[in-house]
Subunit: 280 residues, 2 copies
């Protein structure tokens, strides 16, 4: 596995591989790997891609009061994991390598980026879009892999790729869950044992709503959300949002059907967790 | 010369030429060609590039009260000119081909894009950056050519390319002038004969300031601007701005020196004209 730390090294590495005619797959991550990340990498390798994983905790996507400083970083462990996966290269730039001191250019997707997560984390998706666009331009992949766990992020990046004509296939990969149902997330390590038990209420509520749709054929969004809220509000967690939306534009829907999803966020102490179910 | 009207045609055309190992040069234009455009194309061809010219009057960069509808369009004449230049291909998409109905993604360069032209045309540079980023992603050129006449645009696009890691060389090409000194611009045809005479005051003021710097060694920005203002204000035109700035960040400078410029804009009736002198 090649370890690349500068943009120049990436461009040279990618240029060298052009002749192999192999597709390039990019898996953008913030490191601190869990099974969800490994699933993204496996998908890229299964697609026959020469696979490049990026590890970069992107300051631009964290708000001033958010967890940029304490976000889990485990570079050595991450590299030892990557060495076992069979991926081809890792790109792990410093913040100084990624951003010049007077960085200005920012990509906005008004409306889409302001809903749900965006309403709680203003500027978050502008930061995500900007760093992802940079990674796309540096790596120039054919495919890029994102998890459905961050559904809004996936939807926004797909829209950015379409609107700005990146010509890259954005592959959405299903959420990986622990045995207790909790969606895999690097932030799960923030949770104490008792908080983790409380946290399960979000995936449990989503699972219950999924069953109501799929087995009981209940499609009315209000009924489902009210059921989900009821389950979550029994626990001592703060429900930040729980909404049934059209996946393309994140507009509220009245009925669950193809290309809709229910997206939720809770806060336990100072840990925020998101999860969702989608019908795609 | 190949005439391409869809993004797909451009991608296929560019893919076909990859093997030739020739650099690709892109000349983005809004058509209605004048000598300035031809100079950009010549520069690309002289650089040995396979040269693609785009013609697209970009609605996103016009404000609601601006001249999008009446902006000069001369496609047949433009094509007959292009046929004589030796360029390789022209990309002339429709608005529908370029933008989906619900286009959202927009690239902002806060600060840089709000100064000078941006203060008078809010949103203009977001529109420019967005369409140029799209063209860059569709054509994937090695070089792209822009005129120094639109100095702020050139500076902003260079900054966007750097900040978003496009990996494209942005080549600035000197302003082409008519024999009377007026900077070549597609908007010059809006001017009546008497307005054209009045319009000369801007290039004349800039020329006078240039002489003061280069022959009289006057470098003090206030003195120069005051001289320039004096010349312009004698004519019956509206001076919108005349500023001495650092070219990299468009901040006001006190002294003219390397990498500074004086940028001006006037309005005559409902025609806006811009011009500048730069020391690069």
């Amino acid at each position: 596995m090649e370890i690349l730390t500068t943009k120049k090294q990436v461009r040279e590495y990618v240029e060298k591989t052009r002749n192999s005619k192999k597709k390039i797959g990019l898996v953008p991550t913030m490191g601190s790997f869990h099974h969800g990340h490994l699933f993204l990498m496996e998908k890229s390798m299964l697609d026959g891609c020469l696979t490049i994983v990026s590890i970069f905790v992107n300051p631009l996507q964290f708000g001033p009061s958010e967890d940029f400083q304490r976000y889990p970083r485990n570079i050595e462990k991450d590299i030892s994991i990557l060495n076992k996966t069979g991926i081809n290269a890792v790109f792990m730039p410093s913040v100084e390598e990624m951003y010049s001191k007077n960085h200005l250019a920012t990509i906005f997707l008004p409306n889409l980026a302001e809903k749900l997560e965006g309403s709680i984390r203003p500027g978050h998706f502008a930061g995500v879009c900007t760093v992802v666009a940079k990674l796309f331009n540096i790596v120039q992949p054919h495919n890029a892999y994102f998890g459905w766990k961050d559904a809004q992020q996936l939807i926004i990046i797909r829209k950015m790729v379409k609107d700005l004509d990146f010509g890259i296939s954005i592959i959405g990969v299903p959420t990986v869950r622990d045995v207790d149902g909790l969606a895999a997330s690097s932030r799960n390590i923030y949770l104490s044992e008792s908080q983790r038990k409380q946290a399960l209420v979000l995936s449990q509520a989503l699972q219950k709503m999924k069953e109501m749709v799929e087995y009981n054929k209940i499609r009315d969004a209000k009924t489902l959300i009210s059921l989900g809220r009821g389950i979550i509000e029994k626990e001592n967690v703060e429900l930040q949002y729980l909404e049934a939306v059209e996946l393309e534009n994140l507009e509220a829907v009245e009925k669950i059907g193809k290309n809709t999803g229910i997206l939720g966020a809770i806060r336990i102490g100072d840990v925020r967790l998101i999860d969702n179910i989608v019908w795609i």
